[in-house]
Each structure stands twice: as C-alpha cells, then as structure tokens.
C-alpha cells in the first residue's frame, strides 16, 4: 500500500470582513487506499476538495484531523521522509518562468541530494524521455502549455520517486497534448511508478486509471474500477428527446428491463443492461402510448452516469 488515508479532513478559516470568520470544510472525511504500481484517479467537479486532498497527502497542507501514511510514513509526523519518496506536480506546475526549464530541473535534482554530475545525468535522461532536450535552454515563459507541463512532470520525477502526485495534469491542454500526456502516465505505470492524479475529465479517469474515487463536496461518493462503477449503474444509456418527459419517465420506469430513469426538461435518460434489445421494446412502448420522440441515442454508460447516480447532477453541470 503506497497511500493509506483515514478520515482525512481539512477545514479552512477564511476571514470575511472585520472579525467575521467563515469556516470552509474543503475535505470532509476521506479514506483512500492506493496500491503500489497503481494509477489511481480522484475524479470530481471543481471545488470538490481534490486539490486539498492531494496537498495533504503531499505534506503541503496539514490535515485538520484524520491520518495518512504515504510510502509507509506518516504525513504529519514524518513529513521529511514522505517528501523523499514522492514527486508532486501542482496544478500550476511550478516551473520557474524566468529561467530556462533545465535550471528548474537541475536545481530540483541538486536539492534531492545529487552531485552536480549526477544531476546533469538525471536531467539529460528526463529531457530525453519527455522530448524536451531541444527546448531545455529556452526561457520557460516562451514555452507552450504542453511543453511547460512536461517540464513540470519531469521536475516531479527528478528523484525517481515511487509515487507521483499529478494535480489536474491535463487541464488547459489541447487534445493532442492531452493524449501525449496520457501516454506519459501509462509509461510511468509500466516503469512501476504509482500515480495519484486528480481530474475533472471523465474520459481521462476512464482511460487512464486502474481504480478511482469520485469526490463531491469533500466526500467520496463512489469508489472502484471504472468498469465496476459503470456496471453498477447499467451497461447502456438510452437518451430520448421528447415533449412529455413526465409521462415517458413513468412509462419507462414500469418496464422490467429498465433499471433506472432520469428526466430533465426535454430529455429522458433510461439505464438498462442490454441496450440493443431494450431500445426496440422501448420505442414500441412509447409509440403505443402515443408519445412522439424527437431523437434517440444509445450509448455505453460513462462515469458521468455514475456521478449522476450518486450526486443527482451531471459532472458537466457540477462545477
């Protein structure tokens, strides 16, 4: 077990005007177990407490209560030992804009205890691995978002840690760079590095992680492998666009092959295990009852459906 967290909580005290204090419970009791070598995702909308959780595990923020062991060491009492065993790439990246990227890399290597020569060798290795050799000496402020992010991850890996934290690693990247970064994360897993990443992209969690937790309002609402979680909802989703959503919902909920129905203005989503067969029944039933539909689509259930099931709202709307 590379991460073991029990009932982690963090309450911030924000000052609001004179003498007034507002308590913000950013994280409200999180339990986590991450195995060695695993890519583990924390999925949730903005403001769910993902960053605060990672910051506590990475020893940046001290938990208000609860405990966590990272790489076998307590985050509060043995922070220095934890720091030797982790890489941490914050959402902002943390590469010095005012110097060439290689300088950040070399400094990080020297801080982790390497000699000048070892640092140079390790930097060269990482530059090559992340295709950064050619731009190593360019001022970081002239680099693109994707290049900067690659530098940030290279810096995070400088001490070859068994565990790396990636906080929202692909936020703000274009699709091409996102795909490249996913490949980098997969490579890390192949090399045996454990990865804990946070994301608010469903497809990212789905494509990349072995296991995940879904967090909302500082709490875990679901956990498991992406497949387990999706199966829990249903195999397929049929989305119908029609006028009389209430009638359609009642009608479909009564069908034995439909597991669950959700209605929003103008749309009804029906969850069922065998969509190909169920769809035909469904259309027939609707027609027999005189409910005209404007459009219909059949998709595999996604993690968004899992989120919807547990929180009552779509992740896309939750931010």
């Amino acid at each position: 077990m590379i991460i073991e967290a029990h009932d982690l909580r963090k309450t911030f005290h924000a000052k609001r005007g004179r003498g007034k204090k507002e308590e913000v419970e950013a994280v409200r009791g999180i339990d986590l177990q991450v195995e060695r070598g695993e890519v583990f995702a924390v999925l949730g909308p903005n403001g769910a407490g993902k960053t605060t959780t990672v910051r506590m595990l990475a020893t940046f923020t001290v938990p208000t209560s609860g405990s966590a062991r990272v790489a076998g060491f307590d985050v509060a009492r043995e922070a220095a030992k934890v720091r030797e065993n982790i890489g941490y790439v914050s959402q902002a990246g943390g590469v010095d804009d005012t110097a060439p990227g290689i300088e950040s890399l070399l400094l990080a290597a020297r801080i982790s205890g390497m000699s000048r020569r070892q640092a140079q060798a390790r930097a060269d290795e990482l530059l090559a691995a992340f295709s950064l050799t050619e731009i190593a000496n360019r001022p970081a402020k002239t680099l693109s978002g994707g290049q900067k992010r690659r530098f940030a991850i290279a810096v995070g890996l400088v001490n070859a840690p068994p565990l790396i934290f990636l906080d929202e690693p692909t936020t703000g990247l274009d699709p091409q760079n996102r795909a490249n970064l996913w490949d980098e994360v997969r490579k890390l897993r192949e090399q045996g590095t454990s990865v804990l990443l946070t994301t608010h992209y469903l497809d990212e969690a789905d494509a990349l992680c072995d296991r995940l937790v879904i967090v909302d309002h500082g709490k875990i609402v679901a956990r498991g492998t992406p497949e387990e979680l999706k199966k829990e909802v249903a195999g397929d989703v049929v989305t119908l666009r029609l006028e009389d959503t209430d009638a359609a919902r009642e009608l479909l909920a009564a069908q034995p092959y439909v597991k669950e129905v959700r209605a929003e203005p103008g749309t009804v989503r029906a969850y069922l295990d065998d969509g190909e067969h169920g769809l035909m029944h469904m259309l027939r039933t609707l027609e027999e009852n005189g409910l005209g539909i404007r459009s219909v689509s059949l998709e595999r259930a996604t993690l968004d459906d899992v989120f919807l099931k547990h929180t009552g709202r779509s992740l896309r709307d939750a931010a």
């Binding site: 940046f60 220095a80 720091r83 902002a92 590469v95 010095d96 804009d97 950040s104 801080i111 810096v155």
Partner: protein, 249 residues
C-alpha cells in the same frame, strides 16, 4: 542546510548573470542624486567643501538603495506563490529557510556590488574614505539590506498581491527616509523632528554611516545601528520563513 542555501544562491546568481542589466538601473537613482543634488548642499556644510558634502550625503544615498532596492526584493516571489514554484519547493527535500536565505544572500551580494560602485563614483567626485571605514559601511549597508529584503519577502508571502505590496512599500519607505535624514541630517531640523528620528531605526544606520565616512569610529550610533539591524533582521527573517509555512493555509 548550508548546502541548500548555497544551491538556491547559485540558482539566483545564475539567473542574475543571465540578465545583469537590472541592478545597474538600481544604482542610477543614488548616482543621479550624487551628481545633481549633492552640489546643492554645499551651502549647508561649514566651509562648503565638496569632500565634506560627499561624506555627509553618500551614506544617505547608499542607505537609499539598501532600503528601496531591497524593499522590492520580494516582488518576484509573489508570482512564485501563484505559479506553483513555492508549493513544489515546500514539499521537496529543500530545507525551507534556505528558500529565503539563498535569495537574501543574493540580494546582499548585489547590494554590496552596487554600493561599491556608488562609493567609486563618489570617490571620483572627491570623497575620501579609509578601508576599515569602508568595510564597516558596507557591512552596515548589508545589515540594512538584509532587514529590508527579509521584510519584503515576508510581506510578499503574506500579501501575495503586487498592487497591495507596492502601495505598502511606498507608504512606509517615504516617511522612513524623510525622518531618517537620508538627504540632510535631521540635526539641521527642529527638535521634534530630531526626537521623532530617534524612533526610526534607519536614522541610526544613516548617522552611523556618516560617522564612518568622517572617519569617526568611536561614534555611539555605530554599535547601536549594528545591534538594531541584527535584531530587526532576525525578527523579519523568522517572520518571512514562517510566512512560507502559512502558504498552505
């Protein structure tokens, strides 16, 4: 600990040497004062000799860079509270005080080099000063700079806002320099101003500087100034390192 401080210092110095022009702009102000303002002061000095004017005015202009230059040292750090750099360093194996100490030592090195240039220009204009006195003046200036710079890092980490910080620095720097008698000794002023100046640490630094430039090593303000700035630096340094911890909330 020492190793990490040296690493951060080396990093900062490399950045500085990659772009060494800016500190030269920093000494423009005291040099302009020396050239264009000091001659106006001849009538205030008994005898009106330029040597005496320079001995009176040069310490003030040096303290000006020590204070103004260093009070803005923390500006660069405000961005680092946002771009994740400090966050990353805070969870690295770095000894935390080294993050600030490395920068402080760089600031002081730049300051001393600037001061040597200013003294050099003053010397060309006719200033004469002994070696011991000069070394002591530079040390005094370094102490003032250390205080102002660590205060600046503390402010930067606490405020984390460029606008607020520049307003606050201006707000404090102006009265401090006026009440210290940076340009003209407060002894020329009324009694209330002289009393007020006694509460301003910078006053002792400027007066100690003037005594040293006159070659008066026995002046009481010299040990007072050193003790005062050693104590103030210790306080602001501890504060700025603590502010680093508060980043995490």
């Amino acid at each position: 600990m020492f190793r990490h401080t040296m690493l951060f210092l080396g990093y900062e110095l490399r950045k500085l040497f990659a772009n060494p022009v800016w500190p030269l702009f920093g000494i423009m102000q005291p040099v302009l004062y020396l050239v264009f303002f000091a001659p106006l002061l001849r009538s205030t000095v008994p005898g009106g000799k330029m040597t005496d004017v320079l001995a009176m005015f040069t310490p003030g202009s040096m303290m000006m860079i020590a204070l103004f230059g260093s009070m803005f040292a923390g500006f660069g750090m405000i961005n680092e509270t946002r771009n994740g750099m400090l966050e990353r360093l805070a969870v690295s194996q770095a000894w935390r005080p080294a993050i600030i100490l490395g920068r402080l030592v760089k600031d002081v090195i730049v300051l001393v080099l600037q001061a040597i240039l200013v003294i050099g220009i003053a010397a060309l204009m006719g200033l004469r000063i002994g070696l011991t006195e000069m070394v002591l003046v530079l040390l005094l200036m370094a102490a003032t700079g250390l205080f102002a710079a660590s205060l600046s890092y503390g402010l930067a980490l606490t405020l984390r806002d460029e606008n607020g910080m520049s307003q606050l620095v201006q707000f404090f720097a102006m009265p401090l320099t006026l009440i210290a008698g940076l340009f003209l000794p407060v002894s020329l002023g009324p009694q209330w101003l002289q009393t007020l100046a006694k509460f301003n640490p910078l006053y002792y630094a400027v007066e100690a500087g003037r005594s040293l430039f006159r070659g008066d090593l026995s002046a009481g303000t010299i040990p007072v100034a050193f003790a005062l700035f050693a104590a103030l630096t210790a306080l602001t340094l501890v504060w700025s390192v603590r502010s680093l911890r508060n980043l995490a909330g």
